[in-house]
Amino acid sequence: MNNSKNLVEMKNIHMCFGKVVALKNVDFKVGENEIVGLIGDNGAGKSTLIKILSGVFPPTSGEMYIRGKKISNRGYSVRKAHEYEIETVYQEKALGEKQSLWRNIFIGRQISNFFGFINVKKEKEETERIMKELIGFRGVGVSADSRVGKLSGGERQGIAIGRAMYFNANLIILDEPTAALSTKEVTKVLNFIRKIKESGRSCIYITHHISDTYSVSDRFVFIDRGEIIGEYRKNEISMEELTEKLLMVSARDSGKGDN
């Protein structure tokens, strides 16, 4: 077993949205310098789990530890998660549509003075830099001042990922970041994850593309209808077996649905 310390640990997490039970009894952890591939069917509860971890909403019940320190569910927030260096690329609604790119990069973590006034010039410069160096926008008509609403789906995901790269967190959570990306751009994201690994940091990578997650992850966590149903280290399972497992889960689901 891996004895290195856990970066984050979630214990016995339950999450209900009204009558919908999205997570039951979930134990989930991410080790230091570990890439975790979170795998599951649509509606399995992946996004719900990582939103709890990144402070969007508290779990209905359960405990959370960051670097061994217990986190109070009530006092936790996105801002706190940022302080703990947890950075998230959300699956949807990750950007303010009517706002400019530079505002979207820095919202919540503005470069501002003592009185809270934003250094607009600096933020725009940094945004241009992020676009060129981190995202590699060739920038046809797209600048720091462009509004998100006019970007393509891939460009949007590029911005969200660029933001995560820029803030250089210790744990980077990527929730289906490649859905709208071309093959070439997917490669960039996978290289980014490898860079995370090389620099000693951790990542949770959610995707429906098994080959992608297999190529970068150290460990795979299966989640199905709100429950963790399996965990495998990379050396315990081949990509074919992993694919088979996922297909089996889907089959089990549709089988039940038919009854």
Binding site: R79, H82, Q99, S112, V142
Partner: protein, 325 residues
């Protein structure tokens, strides 16, 4: 090179929107200069606007923040009546303008705080919450004053009176300077301060704002408090200008203030709007009555013209938004 391209304000850009409202204003003034040259070619009427428009403008500035956040405040006019009562009542009973002023602003802040709590924490839609508090504060003002007016002629010699509604150089109404000053500060806050950015993201998409680390509830409460405090400040300007407070002063300001914000190009869908637009919008609304009366067509036409101007301004804005996407 593409960066330069983006700096040019093509139709459909945000700045074109603000030009549109200025255009509406210029056209309106042009019409009045033709139909009522005597009044509108004389500087005095513009000084009259500078004394009356600031009252609704100050409230419209607060309302702009509320609407950009995707909310509405229908209570500001009653908050104005109530905090105006506090101001005049305390002044009459203590003789202290400072005390009266501070108490009035505090009353506005409390009223705004209550709105904010109901909307952000109890999660009552703001249109209902502030409709309720509109009745409440108006009612409280009537009950406390027994429906009587309060006259404060004694305030005329005070420093506060001179500072707020005196005539600079014997001509320019001081309240205009205050209103413009507040507008400039709020414009900076909207565009360059963390608070303003939070307001825009909340109005754009609340879920996104929360995921980006914006404290949505706290910001909403602050927005409603801003609206309340500005309504109170406006009540002080009105009480000083008229040296009178009367219990039914609020309702007349409700619709013209809301109209000023929308004419100014602030989107009902939230997420965007400008302080500059609201300033021009308030002057457009404020000029219409005077323009119509001076043109000799009769005051009956006022509402009709306000309606036409509002519709055309909103039409232009919608047209521009459609072109942009």
């Amino acid at each position: 090179m593409n960066i330069k391209n983006n700096k040019i304000s093509l139709p459909g850009s945000r700045s074109f929107r603000t030009y549109a409202v200025v255009l509406v204003y210029i056209v309106l003034m042009g019409i009045f200069m033709i139909t009522a040259p005597r009044a509108f070619l004389d500087y005095k009427i513009y000084m009259a606007f500078l004394s009356t428009v600031p009252i609704s403008l100050v409230m419209a500035l607060g309302l702009t923040f509320v609407i950009i956040a995707g909310e509405i405040d229908l209570s500001f006019c009653s908050v104005m009546a109530f905090s105006g009562f506090i101001f005049t009542y305390i002044f009459i009973n203590t003789g202290s303008t400072i005390l009266a002023f501070i108490a009035s602003l505090a009353a506005g802040a409390v009223a705004g705080f209550i709105n904010g709590i109901i909307v952000a924490k109890v999660k009552v839609p703001s249109i209902i919450a502030t409709l309720g508090t509109q009745f409440f504060w108006a009612g409280l003002a009537v009950v406390l004053s027994s429906g009587r007016s309060l006259i404060i002629n004694e305030i005329r010699p005070s420093l506060l009176y001179k500072i707020f509604v005196g005539r600079i150089g014997g001509i320019v109404p001081a309240q205009a300077i205050w209103a413009f000053g507040i507008a400039i500060i709020l414009s900076f806050i909207l565009n360059k301060h963390r608070f303003g950015e939070s307001v825009m993201f909340i109005g754009d998409n609340r879920e996104t704002a929360r995921m980006m680390g914006v404290n949505v509830d706290k910001t909403l409460i602050q927005i409603f408090m801003l609206s309340g405090v500005l309504a109170a400040f406006s009540s002080v300007l009105l009480a000083c200008e008229m040296v009178t407070w009367w219990s039914t002063q609020g309702p007349g300001y409700l619709l013209i203030t809301i109209a000023a914000v929308f004419i100014g190009g602030t989107s009902i869908y939230g997420g965007e709007g400008t302080i500059f637009g609201t300033v021009v919008g308030a002057f457009i609304i404020g000029s219409i009555t005077a323009g119509i009366v001076a043109s000799g067509v009769g005051g009956f036409w006022t509402q009709l013209v306000v309606g036409l101007v509002l519709l055309s301004a909103v039409f232009i804005n919608t047209f521009i938004s459609k072109r942009r996407t």
